[in-house]
Amino acid sequence: MEFNVLIGGEAGQGAFSVELELTEILTRLNYYFFATKNYMSRVRGGHNFHMIRIADHPVHALRGGQWDMVIALDAEAESRHKQNIRDKGIYLAPASAREIEKEARDRFRDVRAANNILVGIVLSVIGVSRQILAEAAKPENLEHLTAGLEFAQRWNLAETCPVSPKAVCPCKLDGNQAIALGAIIGGCQFMAGYPMTPATSIMHYFATAAQRMPVHFEQAEDEISAINMALGASYAGIRSMTATSGGGFALMQEGVSLSGMTETPIVIAVSQRPGPATGLPTRTEQGDLNFVLQAGHGEFPRIIFAPGSIDETIMLAAKSFELADRYQIPVFLLTDQYLADSVQLTDEKIPAAAQSREHLIFDNTYRRYRLTADGISPLTCPGLSDALVKVDSDEHDEEGKITEDLTLRTRMVEKRRGKGERLLIDAVPPALYGYKDAGTVIICWGSNKLIVKEAQEMLAREGIETAVLHFGQVYPLTADMIAPWGLASKKLICVENNAEGQFASLMKRELGLDATHRLLKYNGECFTVEELYQNIKQLLSGRS
């Protein structure tokens, strides 16, 4: 059983608060759910809507298709979404919302109580009783939620779409929270950034964390400064990161190159939104893969991760810091608005201990860029001994002194390339779901993982056997990573949230694999399960 509800209205009307409160109490009540939002780049007015899928099994994507319930806070929401309610579905019109608001004002002397009354109505629809609610709700919300149950009784909505709570000890996070959490687990103690949707909440989470633990967030004057600050902090011995979106990342590029040349470890989270230029600030796209791949002048190694779930985001964010340190390179976390704004549950055990950088002590013969067999020079920071730490953005000698000795230049290029070879052994292989021997493999990367995975499961229920291969590491790509799956002889369908099929092209270039079919979406919205299921089915039946 599952229950899909949409709540829409103007920015500032409370739909977001309803989402927050509802997901909060659903987590407390052990319901499986998935929530995401579609909002405009404005503070008041416009039209935003929030979509919550509640189920008796794990769900990690929007189902698509019709809604079981629509709550329209204004006429715009009514005109857009009412027609998408399923037969016998529930509709709360703006008039009902006003009635609830009146109750909130008259009975509780607080309009904001209306949000929790609405939450109470939804809870009643899925079968939450007064008793269960009383056990789980925060005391300050209980009265308002209970008023919601009463409304639902009066309007004959109680228990009309019952869903059982089956989650065990769930934990709720959105994608950006997972990045901040993963970073802190990875030992990151410094973030500098300049606000930009959809990356801002990574900074917000980090700044909140900084009030309670030994980490620091600094708001920079621009993105150029942000990445340079993070590099400064990293040089000083602290694991550091910065976060931004495409436009801000454009300004950071020189810093990426600087990290490459000075071999200063850094993690850069790039949360994509549709471009070019300012694009659609609050919508989603996977359009910056090529950009991140090429960013920064000159040649130097890098790693790009593109996690597809909450667990994977935490895991890869933490791992990024370890790898950035080990190889002294920039490591990217390439996500998007869809992942940033989606709230999901995780049952996985989240690691509790933070990692940290090891600080080695050297004597005064220390050379920051000592030439070694694998290109990795010993890393340390200033102030620990009389070993001076000298780093230079110019080509440099082993000591870190500016040089124009071209023989040395060649050796330094080879040293940096050597690290690029070496880091291949740490490559995170793609994950395969579904039928591993199927003739059709659906390829995806980043945030599309769980949408594609569920579409594959729908197909399987109809006897259509496919496999899904999700890349959490999108660069570098190596033959070893895909060796187990015999992809060369299979029909490959690449699913991407962009117009050019950037990952398909990268696969072609790096692995010689041809994805003969590309399913691309670039209107600023994520895929839904239903949509992918239909598209893939059509493709496979040859009617495309």
Partner: protein
């Protein structure tokens, strides 16, 4: 090292004199060399740390200050000195200059101000005098110069000074005071460039500089003095505000988030649209 090895400067360059002063200061400071970090950008001046016995992060053109801020925030125990030329500090890095002052960190900003882009062979810089001619300004510089000292006083920097490469002892005192001052200190150093600035020469400066008797503590008065340029150029500490509080970085090094800290992160809600 005793610096006069392989240095990329022209014979007679004002930077040699500044380097010698810096070397002496660093030896005399009550701070071990291992705790001193220079950051620099790109330019002739920005090569300075290569010729000193210090830690350094010689980054990109214009970015000595953000790197310095990052280091100081991460490691309050380190003495952080940003060193670059006028083009780097006030042109490419002009925005950082303004905002670094706002940040109130205990950082020393030293600029070799030769009023020219020397490394790129003689173009106008933000501090070039009006009407100077060069390859990219064949008609003469059309812009009015930026006065870094006046700008810093206006921004509320608590220690604002100007030095002259041609006055060793005076410069030495200034650099020492700037480094030991707790808070953001700007020391703009008049540095003759013998190759590309044939106007603002040692002699030109010598005829014009006069020493401040004592630092001004009134900001309006300091602005008036800072505004002087041309026939009379003040050197010394122009503005000093000992009361200004600098911002302390947090203790981060070798500290760690605990298991409890991490568990607490799972309860955070972020009530904002991105």
């Amino acid at each position: 090292m005793n610096g006069r090895g392989d240095m990329a400067w022209c014979p007679g360059c004002g930077n040699f004199a500044i380097r010698d002063v810096l070397e002496e200061v660093l030896k005399e400071l009550p701070i071990p060399a291992q705790n001193v970090v220079f950051t620099s950008g790109i330019g002739q001046a920005a090569k300075m740390p290569h010729y000193l016995h210090v830690n350094y992060f010689n980054g990109l053109h214009g970015r000595s200050l953000p790197v310095a801020a990052g280091i100081k925030l991460a490691r309050p125990d380190l003495t952080v000195i940003a060193y670059s030329g006028d083009g780097c500090m006030y042109g490419e890095g002009g925005n950082h200059f303004i905002h670094t002052i706002r940040r109130r960190l205990d950082i020393t900003i030293l600029t070799s101000n030769n009023q020219v882009y020397a490394l790129t062979k003689g173009q106008s810089s933000p501090t070039s005098d009006p009407a100077v001619k060069n390859a990219l300004d064949p008609q003469g510089n059309q812009n009015i110069p930026l006065n870094p000292v006046l700008l810093a006083v206006t921004m509320g920097a608590p220690f604002v000074a100007r030095g002259f490469a041609g006055d060793h002892d005076h410069l030495k005192e200034l650099i020492k005071e700037a480094i030991l001052f707790k808070g953001t200190a700007l020391l703009d150093i008049l540095q003759p460039c013998v190759s590309f600035n044939k106007i603002n020469t040692y002699q030109w400066y010598r005829q014009r500089v006069f020493k401040m008797e004592k630092p001004l503590t009134d900001r309006c008065e300091a602005m008036k003095t800072a505004d002087l340029w041309g026939d009379k150029i003040p050197i010394g500490i122009i503005y000093l505000n000992k009361e200004a509080e600098s911002r302390e970085g947090k203790e981060l090094f070798r500290q760690q988030a605990t298991e409890n800290d991490i568990a607490g992160l799972l309860d955070m809600t972020c009530v904002m649209m991105r």
